[in-house]
Amino acid sequence: MTATDAPATEAPAIEAGHHQRIVDGLRGSLGDAVLDVVLERGDLWVRVDRSAWHGAFEAGKRKLGLTFFSFLSGIDWTPAPGLSGERTFKGEDADEGDEPVEEATEVRTGLAGGDTRFQVFARLFDVRRHVGVTLKADLDDADPSIDTVTDLFRGADWHERETWEMFGFTFDGHPGLRHLYLPAEFEGHPLRKDFPLLSREVKPWPGLVNVEQIPPHLDPKNQPAAEAPPSEAPASDAPAADAAPPAEGGTE
């Protein structure tokens, strides 16, 4: 799970043959630019240096048979205190002794590690051997830019446009980075963690405010026990039945 500085010396225990072949192929093409390799639950993650991002796709497509481009996106590892209505949320059926989720303060990156706030990740697949790999690369915090892969996988075009508008990553060499979903005059990068979600600023957690307080006179806890005997039911029905016809007549 942690980034290793010398990955070539301590090879992770990769057992599945096809995964090993991909790791060997990437190491052979990129050398030390392969920063970390993780095999977990039968799936492969490879983190490469951002200078080797394009090379990893090229090696994958041309040498390793990873011809299917699945997706490309980004991630912002900033801890997100602003959107954490969940941290104050304790549902009615919370378990006993269920402690609130601790406030995350430091950056915790996921599989295959990471050193920076922003990461870009993409997935390639081999449709003949049915094996896939998730590639990751760290981006510079101040200038998140990376090479485009649209020259290798034309389908990356829209994915890079989406990532550009949602995270503000620039893809060098992309034929036209313009907005995909958002209007052209939109400002900001919505999927960054510091972009406020307005509805959550107004209501921290909808689960909290949607629980309406029961008025005290209707709360079953406040009712005296053994109320509402059967004799009272017709008595309460009768006035309602009487009241209905005049009301109707009045409206007519």
Binding site: D43, F71, E86, F89, V101, R154, G155, H179, L191
Partner: protein, 387 residues
Amino acid sequence: MPDWKKAAYVAAQAADARVNVELEAEGMTLNIGPQHPATHGTLRIVCRLDGEQVVWADPVPGYMHRGYEKLCEVRNYPQINTLVNRIDWLGSFCNEVPFILAAEQLMEVEAPERAQWIRTIFFELGRQANLILFLGDVGTQLGAITPVFLAFRDREHVLNMIEAATGGRFHPNFDRIGGLKDDLPKGWLDETVSAMKRVEDFCDEVEDLMIGGTIFQQRTRGVGVIPAEVGLEYGLTGANIRASGIDWDLRRDSESPLAWKSADFKVVTHPDGDSFARCWVRLQEVRESARIVRQLCEGLPAGPIMAKVPKIIKVPAGEAYVETENPLGVMGYYLVSQGGLGPFRLKIRTPSFNNIAIAPWVLRGVYVPDVITILASLYFILGDIDR
């Protein structure tokens, strides 16, 4: 398609281009959508025309963007289940499954066998509901009005079965982390098996009436050809890539915990890669899907439908990517959890996004009426593009 046919198509297009050059036909920009019946919602396509031919086409999505990836970061797991139902609204249950599987993978929970079988049944019912409507709708795009009525009529049989068990016709919200909300009602399995007969009858009817017909074939054969390697580059999935001859179906080819391994079905492919192949593959997929449901209904194991899970769902820190073969193609959820009540990041890989990203490539050089058939045969759902 034989080489001479491909060559003839190219030659015909080149001849038209020459005529246009000679006539110095002035280009015009044609805007299709966002409100157009062929766009299944609000996809806008800007086409630059030269005479009757499209010089370039640029789809403009985003009229229905709902920001699911952002919303998922501020919701807990049961709430997201409701949310993702609305991605592909014709086969809603299929949207829930990969998300639940991703969460289960990180929690190291496995649903009981019966739950997995019932999930598979609903998954296939969702596929049928989705693709039956496609088969009706593609007729409408070609000017055939009857198939869409047959589709709406016979889709009811499938929707009724989904409603009978889950209470929801379109958005079942029936899948839970660790299993299912409820068991099946009494008599449901027999009813479903007989509904499958209706579905198969519909397939025959549509094949006789439309797919096998001359007009349909003339409008779709050799139109919008996508070679396999281009399709893979663009990330085409589902029937679109199988119609280009790639024999790849995650139901058969992945280690899914769902019960497809227990059913005997064919993965249908077609070598042509044209609009006709895409429609034909989908038609066969409905038939195979009906076969799967029938087999699973007959062999459904007994047992519990819910594994033991905590009342408040917290997913341990980690990352998982789970994809399934949805009606529209491969749908995947890349789930990043940091141990909270909701995901830290959820990347939703939807099939239609990639399937329609190829439109600029495939629409170049086609005639205007073919734009509609090609888009219809690529088959997208707006919620699935825009998320």
